[in-house]
């Protein structure tokens, strides 16, 4: 877009949204649909929906390294490579170059980033679960961290609101632990999965449901209006979906915002500072640096939404120093950057399934089974707090089983063209407790090539998490055994915080200004026209995937912000 940097008027909007990912997109949609002119600031390059998914329709043999990661890509994307194979040729361009965007690990931290339009919504896992009532109440009951300033009922209508727009496929189960939402038809289970579900009901009275996922099983008008079609079961979502069948900012919220003609998007523009006016007692705009030209420009707005991703949002607050806020905007409580949470994973079990030789599946389901939390729930009591859920399922082994089999030659080759035996596996997603010692801060000296201070991570899993991990591992094996599966092997690879890519908590909501950064409407306590609605806002983590909750909080905060603007409360 053309911008005259000297003309403040041209650089003035009703609202600025920093970030174009899961929550930035939702903020832009909600604010524009309510009539505000919005400037969205994205630090990375522009990615156009469908047009720029240049690997989406490629054949397996079109990729030189056939899905493997090259040593030089792994080196360049040294942090992203910790997540696994996604920095390969199929999806690598949607993961940030860590060499150009370094950070400091006082303790190891796996920071997976996506600097481009749509951010991590481009390749999220799409699992979408409502929090339950307990999730909002547990901190207060157990004396962990601080209490949430809201309860389930505050968010419930907003869950429904965003679920309808996003499109979540799932099965209603009537469970308190995993509240039902507004669902599109569920994806089917395979024969061994149905067997497993029945066995868990019989032996443990534990429910197993099909994953609730943001892939359209049956697109509704709200989706087709935006050009979104139904899932084609290719399971190549992370390359970008040419059908718009999974939800991302690119397929959903940004097109919705664009059709209002109220949205402008700046790319390659790194927000470095929020401009605070001490006399007015509010923020007036955002300072950005063009990542290519290094040109610095200021943009102005009545309200500012921070949706840069939990860590970058906190860094932006910390870097916005003024006479009023010497420790960073809104940081009177010293809680900005603290209480980093994530979900722990890398722990579970797998097994061989005997039988079901006549059963197979057609198509690739981009989804798995879900076993909701059963620990510290109801009558169950453990020697640790909170709980975990499992994601996993069954599949027949493919040709790659041949690597571990003896033999070679014609009959070996022929045998690998048949579907292999069924395998069953689950991995846990465990809640991480809020702990103010788990923090990130800005390095006082070291800066990136744009002159922005580097983030230092100093956070680690605590005893509660490690105790939970053992249970995640053992309980998984126990369930697979109870289902009658054989050759069970467990794994428990302790990772760093961050690898769940659910990093959150660095500007938490709370009831008191002394101990929190945001109020019940995601408004910075001491700077009321700044809203934080990405993962930074989270007061606790639950064990379910967070994006749908972030989006519900965002829609709710946008609604509040616009009503406050109308009431002239943010002037």
């Amino acid at each position: 877009m053309y911008l005259n940097i000297n003309a403040e008027k041209q650089n003035t909007f009703d609202a600025i949204v920093v970030g174009s990912g899961m929550t930035g997109g939702m903020a832009a949609k909600e604010l524009t649909e309510k009539g505000l002119s919005v400037l969205m600031i994205e630090r990375g390059r522009e990615v156009k929906h469908v047009k720029d998914y240049d690997t989406a329709m490629l054949e397996p043999w079109d990729f030189q390294h056939r899905g493997k990661v090259t040593t030089y890509s792994a080196e360049e994307k040294w942090a992203n490579a910790r997540f696994g194979t996604l920095v390969n040729e199929e999806t690598g361009k949607f993961f940030t170059n860590d060499t150009d965007n370094p950070y400091i690990e006082k303790q190891g931290f796996d920071w997976i980033r996506a600097y481009h339009t749509g951010g991590k919504s481009m390749h999220w896992g799409r699992q979408s679960y409502r929090w339950n009532r307990q999730d909002f109440e547990a901190n207060a009951k157990e004396g962990i961290g601080i209490d949430w300033p809201i309860r389930y009922d505050d968010l419930e209508p907003w869950y429904t609101y965003v679920e309808k727009f996003v499109g979540i496929s799932g099965q209603k189960e009537g469970l308190e632990v995993l509240p039902d939402g507004h669902f599109l038809p569920p994806m089917p289970m395979s024969a061994p999965e149905i067997h497993f579900k029945n066995m868990m009901k019989d032996k443990f009275n534990r429910p197993v449901t099909i994953g609730r996922i943001a892939n359209l099983t049956q697109s509704q008008q709200v989706h087709t209006d935006l050009g979104r079609g139904s899932c084609q079961y290719r399971n190549k979502c992370s390359r970008g979906c040419p059908y718009g069948a999974y939800y991302s900012s690119l397929s959903g919220s940004i097109p919705a915002a664009m059709r209002t003609n109220k949205l402008s998007i700046l790319h390659d523009s790194i927000a470095t500072e929020i401009i605070y006016d001490g006399e007015k007692g509010k923020a007036t705009g955002v300072r950005v640096i063009d990542q290519n030209t290094m040109e610095v420009t200021e943009y102005f707005a009545k309200i500012i939404f921070l949706n840069a991703g939990a860590m970058n949002t906190a860094a932006l607050l910390l870097n916005s120093k003024s006479e009023r806020f010497p420790n960073g905007l809104g940081n009177d409580s010293d809680q900005v950057g603290r209480n980093i949470m994530d979900h722990q994973l890398g722990v579970g079990a797998s097994a061989m399934v005997e039988g079901f030789e006549d059963d197979y599946v057609f198509g690739q389901r981009p989804n798995a089974l879900y076993i909701p939390r059963f620990r510290n729930w109801g009558e169950d009591k453990q020697n640790y707090l909170r709980g975990f859920g499992y994601q996993g399922g069954a599949s027949r082994e493919d040709w790659s089983r041949g690597t571990n089999q003896d033999g070679f030659g014609a009959s070996f080759k022929e045998s690998l063209t048949k579907p292999g035996p069924w395998r069953f596996g689950f991995g846990g997603f465990g809640e991480v407790l809020s702990n103010s010692e788990n923090r990130m801060y800005l390095d006082p000296d070291k800066k990136d090539k744009w002159g922005v201070p580097l983030i230092v991570f100093d956070a680690a899993f605590g005893e509660n998490e490690l105790a939970m991990r053992k249970d995640i591992e053992n309980s998984c094996a126990e369930m697979l055994e109870a289902a009658g599966f054989k050759n069970i092997s467990t794994y428990n690879r302790v990772t760093h915080l961050g690898l769940g890519i659910h990093e959150m908590g660095t500007a938490r909501m709370g009831r008191e200004e002394k101990t929190s950064v945001l109020n019940a409407f995601n408004q910075v306590h001491a700077c009321k026209n700044v809203f934080v609605t990405d993962g930074a806002a989270m007061t606790s983590a639950s064990c379910v995937n967070p994006s749908i909750t972030y989006m519900a909080l965002t829609a709710r905060a946008a609604d509040f912000a616009v009503s406050e603007l109308k009431k002239m409360n943010l002037q």
Binding site: T71, Y233, G363, Q364, F408, K413, E414, K418
Partner: protein, 200 residues
């Protein structure tokens, strides 16, 4: 032959296909040179051995074989691009040993027997390696462990790359599996007689 030449040669074998990122990495990534074993450079004899072994693993039958699917050049390119020093060294040592035994001059029965022995040895090595790594892992940090780790055995590398190269190639996929680009649905089904696996 130095590293760059070796990579270029591998590219030529692939029909001149060398990705832009690969070329870029050759220019820009200083560490890359350091991370590749100096000893990894296949001679024509070595290439013949790799080619013959790949074809023995997945021979031409009524469907294409490893050579038809371009597997030998793929293996060399992959060892260069996706594996580090320990594997490159291990691969080189493996192929050199077979060259010293005049593998290509053996009868086909001798070759098969030699590969069976290679497989048995690799299996033992993998077992010992798992035990050793678990033991080391208790006391020494992961990085030290990685540095000390010996590369995967030559046979294992040959086998996994032959399978990968073949079963992801156009010739391999379309002749081995029921290849479906756009399934449009997901449903549990019953297997038919002589059902091939689906590939997508």
């Amino acid at each position: 032959m130095n590293r760059r030449d070796s990579i270029k040669k591998a590219a030529l074998l692939l029909g001149g296909v060398i990705s832009a990122p690969t070329l870029l990495a050759l220019k820009s990534c200083k560490n890359r040179e350091a991370s590749i074993s100096d000893e990894f450079a296949l001679s024509d004899v070595h290439r013949k051995i790799v080619s013959e072994i790949a074809e023995l693993i997945l021979p031409k039958t009524d469907t294409p074989g490893a050579i038809d699917a371009g597997v030998p050049a793929f293996i060399e390119m992959m060892i260069l691009d996706c594996y580090k020093k320990p594997e490159q060294t291990s691969f080189m040592e493996g192929v050199q040993a077979l060259a010293a035994e005049d593998f290509t001059g053996m009868s086909s029965e001798e070759k098969t027997a030699r590969l069976q022995k290679l497989e048995a040895d690799a299996k033992e090595e993998m077992k010992a390696r798992d035990v050793k790594q678990t033991k080391i892992g208790d006391n020494i940090d992961e990085e030290t462990m990685k540095a000390q780790a010996k590369g995967l055995p030559f046979w294992r590398l040959m086998k996994e790359l032959t399978l990968l190269g073949y079963f992801t190639s156009e010739a391999g996929i379309t002749s081995s599996f029921e290849y479906v680009q756009i399934p449009t649905k997901f449903e549990p089904i019953k297997i038919e007689a002589d059902q091939k696996a689906y590939a997508y």
